[in-house]
Symmetry: D2
Subunit: 143 residues, 4 copies
């Protein structure tokens, strides 16, 4: 992996400003921890009010991470505005731990559609385990 | 549609008790408004802190509704415990309005897997518009 | 359901001409049996060479039916050219019988994207059973 | 990548025997070109009768490759019998070329469900381009 450049730092800063303007992202406490063209990493510290009845992160919380990371990864790879058209998520393991980490990478960037994959892990005491994988389409709505 | 029976009323009551034990569902304020074998309706009054930066319900909130409604519809059609394996969601319109309504119906209930579809609408001044459609698989994990 | 109109008959005829120009559809023997704006029905008589090792219709054959029916349903609802962007399919029952019947209906037609659902049944001695359900996005590539 | 072992060679041979018993795979001319625990590669030489009306490989053919490669990758990672439950595919580029190559890798193998991703490329004069990506679930139906 290359060292982050000042362009990357500026992108990360702009991405964080957008996240701060998403009230739902503020409610759940998501943080944008990496952001480069075609790649985004969201980190979500787990709290009691993000869980379901068995003490796992709620599927809706894991889905939020996927949805938002997909959109960021695509948004960072185009000058245009983006909107997530659709995604699919497979849950592979109950998400029990300290934080969720969603890493999304652009697979193919077309003129009007960007296809992205995302891995969502749960970290517990520094050890990460994959808990979900997603794949989706982000539409470029203006440019 | 048939009149709700006392069995349906008992199912709805049990479903609401489960929802009350999901801290994340309490955080976002979801309500289980209908629950019959193979069918579930979740209603989510929209609040400012459920939106994204353009004033629409956040995609993660819409996805939460789909995920949870799918799981309920499947759970109401089996005696076993259920866990959502995967789902796919298409967003068809920005969700702007007073509340989200997710209605999920079982398409096929197998012994170990239940396939469910879900329509998510946004209601504004009593008028509903479709904003997303989902399809997913719920695993029967014990019986 | 309304009686087919002469416009529907013309649409069906045009749809069949397109199908006849798809060499793969000719190879598998698909027939377009209904075609109206926003709805398409493909019928595929099952033959030995469309099966897998257990005597079921191959998943790839069922997927072909879904893919093509989705595209037709969308194509019949717009003046533009269409191309399927993505779809998701759940197999709910082994497809054993005389023919596959895929029925696709447009859920939402936007300016640039059309979302479609499809049910795929297998008919045996005139009795239909659902064997798969699909949901996908068709892009309007020109208009 | 490690050298193939004799166990891998035996697995590949068994995989090819299964493929030879799939009449549809024989009809389209698919070949199993790599097969290791958790990984499978299918190669499909393109012929005129596998195309659609614009000269691209038909979406149903690309979907067949995804479906079958997903199933193989999962099947090679378990002693049990497998059956594909569902998959999702995004088409990212028209498939024009000499052959399709589908490479599927297991993402997570659970006791009853295996989650797999697949990249489908089209090769033209030896140069590969990604034309679709898929993600799906394979059920372990007996063990």
């Amino acid at each position: 992996m290359n060292e982050p450049t000042s362009a990357d730092a500026a992108l990360l800063e702009r991405g964080r400003q957008v996240l701060a303007r998403q009230p739902f992202s503020v409610l759940v406490g998501a943080r944008l921890t990496r952001f480069e063209p075609g790649f985004a990493e969201l980190t979500l510290p787990l709290r009691d009010d993000l869980l379901q009845q068995h003490g796992f992160a709620h599927g809706g919380v894991v889905s939020y991470c996927a949805d938002n990371a997909l959109t960021y990864a695509a948004g960072g790879s185009t000058q245009g505005s983006v909107m997530t058209s659709e995604f699919k998520i497979n849950f592979v393991r109950p998400a029990v731990g300290d934080e969720l980490i969603a890493r999304a990478s652009v697979v193919h960037a077309g003129r009007s559609q960007i296809v992205v994959r995302c891995d969502i892990s749960v970290a517990k005491a520094g050890l990460e385990k994959l808990c979900a994988v997603a794949q989706g389409t982000v539409a470029v709505v203006s440019s």
